[in-house]
Symmetry: C2
Subunit: 442 residues, 2 copies
């Protein structure tokens, strides 16, 4: 029973180096768990000369992906190239060759997931992607197996470490978005092109994978309303604090019969809620099932070792399946068949509380004009806490919290307000969630 299972890694970047390090450093415990050895045969990258600070003794390094894809000994291919191409082609070729695949590539899964899953099915191979959502947090496994007895009711959380790091730094140090972003880029916490992270796209990618696993939907990130954090100012963070809130970039979903609510946007949440305490590069996912009730999962959402932990866990699962002859034991998304159509609720129909920061000239009657427009659009004001602090150009911020209001009404009202000659800048608008996101944690 000591036959080994062989694997190859394509992509020797940060996560690839972490995976190699874990396979070496924890080889003993991995073998005791499995009862057999994992053998990393080959690593392929366009650059195999750079020193990654990890030992590659006994591992074949090559720039030719064929050394992995065409090697019949290799049963598991680990794709850590990232991006769309050539990652997609590598995965499809590996599957066609009957190899199982592990990836942490959420952008690829969100965009080409249906094609990849269909290819896996036809080829009779598995694809695991725990590292694609929540870094080292075993959230994919929880949805696929641990909570399998449940009809999912809600799934939401902090899903992007870069955006969370930026908001945390802005909150703690009162710095501007731009300053913190530049610091994050210098520290390697943010990409040179940070748009996937700060525009909410990466969160939407991850949420689209969770939606498919929770509500039996196809993977459709384009149906998820997505708004990033680039417009958030340290002023808004300060006002949020005055109201007792923090601002977090959340992915939020819930299901009611065949209608799924799915959205990504900066959200004001009570500062004593547990999600408000999830800071820096940490992620947290709430999953509410119909029988289990609220559950929560927390850990580092990205990084060489946490994501490496997830990738190696995935490799171990697939190696077990290879050894047991139990390929396709579980569908990659957790459902062998999906129930009928699900419809994503239009954002126009969303009902939440809202925060507005209007930039108005300091003149009598301004508040009455604005509140008149809100009233005409069925938006009722809960409180106005700030006004009269003069800014450049004579504008003053008027800051409001509303009661629950329909998004379509809010958009209409803001269009009208922003056309007033007494309003100098586009109104800042942040959605507010109170009780619904506590998930049982006081």
């Amino acid at each position: 029973m000591d036959e080994e299972v062989k694997l190859g890694i394509i992509g020797f970047g940060t996560v690839g180096s972490g995976v190699v390090k874990i396979l070496t450093q924890n080889a003993d415990i991995i073998k005791r768990r499995l009862g057999f050895s994992l053998v990393l045969k080959s690593i392929v990258d366009i650059d195999i000369s750079r020193d990654r600070g990890v030992s590659t003794a006994g591992i074949h390094l090559s720039t030719d992906v064929g050394e992995i894809l065409d090697n019949p000994e290799i049963r598991i291919v680990v794709e850590l190239v990232g991006g769309y191409e050539p990652a997609r082609t590598f995965i499809l070729r590996a599957m066609a060759a009957g190899k199982h695949v592990v990836t942490a590539n959420k952008a690829l899964l969100a965009t080409h997931g249906e094609e990849i899953l269909e290819t896996a099915r036809r080829s009779g191979v598995d694809i695991n992607f725990e590292g694609s959502v929540g870094g080292g947090i075993p959230i994919i496994r929880a949805l696929k197996e641990g909570l399998a007895a449940n009809r999912m009711v809600k799934v939401f959380g902090i899903m992007n470490g870069t955006a969370n790091y930026i908001l945390t730094e802005m909150t703690e140090n009162g710095e501007s978005f731009q300053n913190v972003l530049e610091k994050a880029q210098r520290n390697g916490y943010a990409e040179v092109d940070p748009s996937l992270d700060v525009e909410g796209i990466d969160t939407a990618h991850k949420l689209s994978i969770l939606l498919a696993m929770s509500y039996e939907m196809p993977i459709i990130p384009e149906d998820i309303f997505t708004e990033g954090i680039t417009g958030i100012s340290s002023q808004d963070i300060r006002y949020a604090g005055d109201f007792g809130y923090k601002i977090k970039l959340l992915g939020i979903s819930s299901a009611h019969d065949n209608v799924v609510e799915a959205r990504v946007h900066p959200t004001m949440i009570p500062e004593d809620a547990v999600l408000s305490k999830v800071d820096g590069v940490f992620n947290a996912f709430y999953v509410v099932g119909d029988v289990v009730g609220p559950t929560m999962y927390y850990g580092q959402g990205a990084g060489m070792m946490p994501t490496g932990s997830a990738v190696v866990g995935d490799i171990m699962e697939l190696a077990r399946n290879v050894r047991a002859g139990a390929e396709r034991r579980v569908h990659p998304l957790g459902f062998e068949t999906r129930c009928g159509e699900k419809v994503v609720q239009k954002i126009a129909d969303l009902v939440t509380k809202h925060y507005f920061r209007f930039s108005a000239v300091d003149r009598p009657g301004v508040l009455s004009r604005i509140s008149g427009i809100l009233g005409d659009n069925q938006i009722s004001i809960a409180s106005v806490i700030q006004m009269g602090r003069e800014l450049r150009g004579g504008a003053v911020p008027i800051v409001m919290m509303t009661h629950e209001a329909r998004e379509a009404d809010v958009q209409q009202a803001l269009r009208e307000v922003d056309q007033l000659e007494i309003v100098q800048d586009r109104t800042m608008h942040i959605r507010v969630e109170d009780e619904t996101l506590r998930g049982g944690l006081s």
Copy 2:
């Protein structure tokens, strides 16, 4: 591919009823996940006439356990009898008959786990027990598979819903232990004999299972230092609050080379730590791995539906293995072989901060006598916040927090203090944990 997998349930109590309800209510989604049906053939209980409020249409009800254990059609036996006997015998008989077993019986696993696991190995069958620890929280799966790439560093948390409910009520309403316990018994949150829960024994049982899965140890609850919450007074909870702490019953473990620290006791933790916000019947587990870093898992730790969720998830996993011919795909504890001996650290060697409440007579020189004894035993006082409130019989409480001190020294000092004629009652002693239990959550 639509062959069904048949199962039987022994024990039609609270969790058994929950399992039956879930199998009925979520039969559609369970089938879509699996691609085949689970069929509950038989339920056995000594009482099959009582109405449990769940539909048993099409299910054979019997008082004869042989109807399940001797039925070759039944591949999975769900043991929900609880307690040691006859549960142990039923499980061993089911295994001998080649049936896979699902149980939520932590007391049995903690006490007879080694025998049961050895019988499972010899019989080539699986045993799943997600519901035995953390109710519906998939913590067993996280340790066994999700975090399998890790060498575990720390595992700790709130593992008993009854004790947590009692401490929560005592904290929120200032009520006495006895009053809250009686209320909990009336509400069904506590057993008629609550000793397993309030004496910390149930937490030690659960922790012993987690230790085996985390550190490759045998299941040895008797090696875990265990102290319950029966001595905690509302006074101590109030003083804890004055110091900025809450009191929680924690299971705590960590590993350093071959030495494992493992203990269960009421613990003062900072009131802004996330564990302090885990209230009522909720549980939370921190798992710190060498590569994943800190992770946390939270949900309802007990109850008909949460535990039912875990049990049905276990049934689904085993049914998948049966269908794939992949029995024993993963060892029940996650390790095919264990590394050499682990030693549980003696409690005498534990170093923590401490809270003391002395009951001394109100007389000059008392504080000097007590602090002299502490000093002689290398215990350094961090602060004294309360003294001089007279109680019955002229005794006053002197409340202290210490710096880090060795448990053996503390025990010696308390023995000496409690022998002083100026000390009227046994000194209350609660261990204090600060930074170490935050696990990355600020």
